[in-house]
């Protein structure tokens, strides 16, 4: 089942990757790539936005590690779509008993949901919302455990990240009927950690593709009469890159496997997500340097298709918490327990989750 989904997604995404690359604006400062509606329609047709749901909820009943390869493939093919965001939105909506997302969706935090005489009022501003301009459903999580599902009523200020993905600012000031708000299945800090796992998975996909490109290119590019992969210094750099890729992927899978525990062991899940995103973010930075170095001046051009990968590495390591953000959360927990609890924390608490 999972292999079939992987192959299907891989073929579909490969078909659309060229168009997405061709649609990139000429310059990074010009803004986001145009919304790829055909690609999104195909994604919906295959049901990928429902990949984290059980069969009763309308999904395929996959284990999380069977569904997450789809997210890695979105990264590997450098597709400009909020699939990870929509998968999370549907996961939360289903768990909260609200109706599933219509179209591309996104989850936002940092908006206040306050009660008023006829229902609820939503107020606030959220920055760097992935494809806010294309979203047809927005899921709002507030700080006190409420969830709201809306389909209209926000205004958009456009923005974009280094990889020309839309990262818009959304402004909310709207009234909602009582039935549009429910109790959230997870607190917003747990959602942040879920987002971090999705980005760690995405980074792992980009990293795997980056390594593959480096291996292929170093075998084709000839200098001093030999393919450059024949030089030990290139071999050593690529071996180091491979280690970073392997660690990022392993960390992302470690936390990805624990997605099923967000409701029962949220605090431990956060620690695994923290390690995963921290590790993937660190790997991303190191990998981007090696990839560009191996590809030389050719890889530095807009024309050559390395930058959709490396700009994603740079952009995604900052999204859903950078390395310092998650390291601080991990460190705080470890230091709160002191030396006595340190090994039991690693071995029994977070290590005992599988």
């Amino acid at each position: 089942m999972s292999e079939m989904i992987f192959d299907t997604a891989n073929r579909l995404f490969a078909d659309h990757a060229k168009a997405a690359f061709a649609a990139l604006p000429q310059r990074q400062v010009d803004g986001a790539v145009a919304w790829q509606s055909e690609l999104w329609e195909a994604i919906e047709e295959f049901g990928f936005p429902l990949a984290l749901l059980s069969e009763e909820e309308g999904g395929f009943g996959l284990e999380s590690l069977e569904a997450l390869p789809i997210i890695r493939l979105v990264g590997a093919h450098a597709l400009p779509v909020p699939l990870a965001e929509t998968m999370l939105a549907n996961y939360l909506l289903a768990a909260a008993g609200l109706s599933l997302a219509r179209g591309p969706a996104v989850v936002v935090t940092g908006v206040e949901i306050v009660s008023e005489s006829t229902g609820w009022r939503l107020q606030g501003k959220v920055r760097e919302v992935a494809w806010g301009r294309a979203a047809q459903t927005v899921v709002v999580l507030d700080d006190v455990g409420r969830i709201a599902r809306i389909e209209q009523g926000w205004s958009i200020e456009e923005g974009h990240n280094l990889a020309a993905e839309a990262r818009d600012t959304l402004h909310f000031d709207i009234s909602l009927a009582a039935e549009m708000v429910a109790t959230s299945p997870v607190r917003c800090e747990v959602f942040e950690a879920m987002g971090a796992v999705m980005r760690a998975q995405g980074l792992a996909g980009v990293l795997e593709e980056t390594l593959k490109r480096c291996i292929d290119y170093s075998g084709e590019r000839v200098q001093f009469g030999r393919p450059i992969c024949a030089f030990q210094v290139i071999q050593q750099n690529l071996a180091e890159l491979a280690g970073q890729v392997a660690a990022a992927r392993a960390g992302a899978d470690m936390a990805g496997a624990a997605l099923s525990l967000v409701k029962t062991q949220p605090q431990n899940f956060i620690l695994l997500a923290a390690a995963a995103k921290m590790r993937a973010g660190e790997a991303a930075g190191k990998a981007a340097w090696v990839a560009h170095q191996v590809h030389g001046a050719i890889g530095y051009t807009r024309e050559f298709q390395l930058h959709p990968l490396t700009t994603r590495l740079w952009a995604w390591r900052d999204e859903f918490g950078n390395e310092n953000y998650w390291a601080e959360i991990l460190g705080e927990t470890c230091l709160a327990g002191g030396a006595e609890d340190f090994w039991p924390l690693l071995a029994d608490r977070v290590g005992g989750m599988q």
Binding site: L238, A239, R249, G251, G338, Q354
Partner: protein
Amino acid sequence: MNMLSFPPPPAGMAMPELRTEVRDFLREQLGDDYGPEQRAQSWMGFDAEFSYQLGKKGWLGMTLPKEYGGHSRSALERYVVMEELLAAGAPVAAHWIADRQSAPLLLHYGSEEQRQTILPRIAAGKCFFCIGMSEPDSGSDLASIRTRALRVDGGFRVNGTKLWTTYAHHAHYMILFCRTDNSDDRHGGTSQLLVDLTTPGISINPIGDIAGEHHFNEVVLEDVFLPESALVGELGQGWKQVTGELAFERSGPDRFLSSFTLLTQLVGILSQAPSREAKRAVGRLVGHVMVLRHMSQSVAGMLDRSENPMLQATIVKDLGALVEQEIPDIARTLVVDTGSPNSTFAAVLARTLLAAPSFSLRGGTREILRSIIARGLGLR
């Protein structure tokens, strides 16, 4: 990129009862007398009595069949015990090599007589081994060894010198990697021999390490006669056997826990008044350790399923050494206590830092590991 994939570790590696049992045992055996400075020796701490007690508990030769004095337990149970011992900084050096690589090698390739006579003693914590691989002119280039075993009537006559032989001066046996034949193939004509270190003609000379401690030795073999029965496995198959042995050497939890006592000390000191800088630095190291542990357990699972995770083990060792070496470098910037007399932290830091260069040397240098990875990537 299959070689880069680390499947989820097997279910049930939490083993809370076994872990509690090991922790209780360590508290009882070591207590407060075995302080952080000694624990910082990690897998270099030597205590024959401790190893004997561990054997009595049934925690040596855990995976060996019962008929050879073992306990027929799973490789994963063994992993959990090893990990608990290392996390506590228990003195495991006496039995470490015998239990980790010599016993599995003898079980796999050894003669029935070798298995019957040696394995029960390893499991009892009474028989210690050293590694006979490196030589004065053969470090990373292991295939260039010159120690030679000539066929003579009834056995072999061995001449040569082994170097950097850890704890040879306390070991009962060495698994000697040597040339037994001329061969055009660099890897051919090599064999492994079981050497009783009391055999006449063997001299063991101490070599101080960077800290002036005596772990290393030079082992000189002069006209040493070994009986036919000393041959381990097949004549001429030494290279294949020795690479299998290295896979055991590279895959365990000793590849990310070498600096763990220092990290624990650091957590203890910084927890008094945690600054944001301290949280971030500790959290980053912990994140690395968590991922390495996950990868290491994944390798343990592959070994348990009789897969061949040679490349994954190599990657874990390479990444593990980086983090183990980073821990002292970062610890010293967070706790400014490095020169105080009687400071436990300073002593633990000094021991760890002085041990750290070896982390990316023994068991395969960083450069050798990366060339193995590069071959796996198809680059060479």
